[in-house]
Symmetry: C2
Subunit: 127 residues, 2 copies
DNA sequence: CGTCAATGTTGACAGCCGTCGATGTGTGGC
DNA sequence: GCCACACATCGACGGCTGTCAACATTGACG
């Protein structure tokens, strides 16, 4: 996987950069920071994986919970989870034999913030 | 462009299907409906194009307004605008020689709705 | 009607991406 | 120590995607 794409640029924080798209034109640098997260969820399997993790008890799930929901091979699911993790959308935590993936609320808020109408009301995450 | 991907499935409405990802696991069918919009903005050029249109006066802009912001060729910009349009994110309107692209508020609201925390507070755009 | 300006379409090509089978790594149990 | 299990990594392959140059189309304007 090349360093030039698919991974968030080092030093840039996609969580604090996210002003609504409608407020002002997003800069190329900001775009490059947010795009990896968007690419991560712009795939049916990964979108479902994220939704499964988010809606699972405690906002976390282990790979063994997720696998049965798909017709894909285990390496493929593992690959997709890696993409979700490297984009900053989910955290990884190993507990014994199992690995748990945990959704990051800040990342969700950052995504939602991109699409707010920017007319009066704001999401809880601008500060 | 194959019909199996990149285009919203006929008969499905991505605007009304969008329950927050965290409320319940999104179905494969729902995922297939939303993914084209996500794919559309999961590209630096297209994300910037959408932001430029959204933040432009009246939420609309003609191609000639957009071209100067990029180092890409005109056919490439035209291609990206086509993707944005076919995904349902922007509308097209021809006025004389110029073509205007207009952001669709419902689509923005649908995107924002995907990422709402679904715990009490909601975004200003769920109607 | 001919020309120019603005935009879309086509065809081609290189690079990326999703998928798999095979294999590696670490953990717990007997 | 050894085996079974959960998960990650690797290498390969086919299809999709972003990009461009060349060309087509449409409308304005003399």
């Amino acid at each position: 996987m090349s360093n030039s794409e698919g991974l968030v640029p080092p030093g840039a924080d996609p969580l604090t950069c996210c002003v609504p798209l409608s407020r002002e034109p997003i800069s190329p640098e900001q775009a490059a920071t947010v795009v990896p997260m968007l690419k991560a969820i712009a795939d049916p399997a990964r979108l479902r994986l994220l939704s499964l993790v988010l809606s699972h008890e405690g906002g976390e799930a282990c790979v063994c919970d997720l696998l049965p929901h798909f017709d894909l091979s285990q390496p493929t699911i593992s690959h997709h989870l890696k993409v979700l993790h490297e984009s900053g959308l989910v955290d990884r935590e190993k507990r014994g034999t199992w690995v748990y993936y945990i959704a990051r609320p800040e990342a969700m808020a950052a995504m939602a913030g991109l699409f707010t109408a920017d007319t009066g009301a704001r999401t809880a995450v601008d500060a």
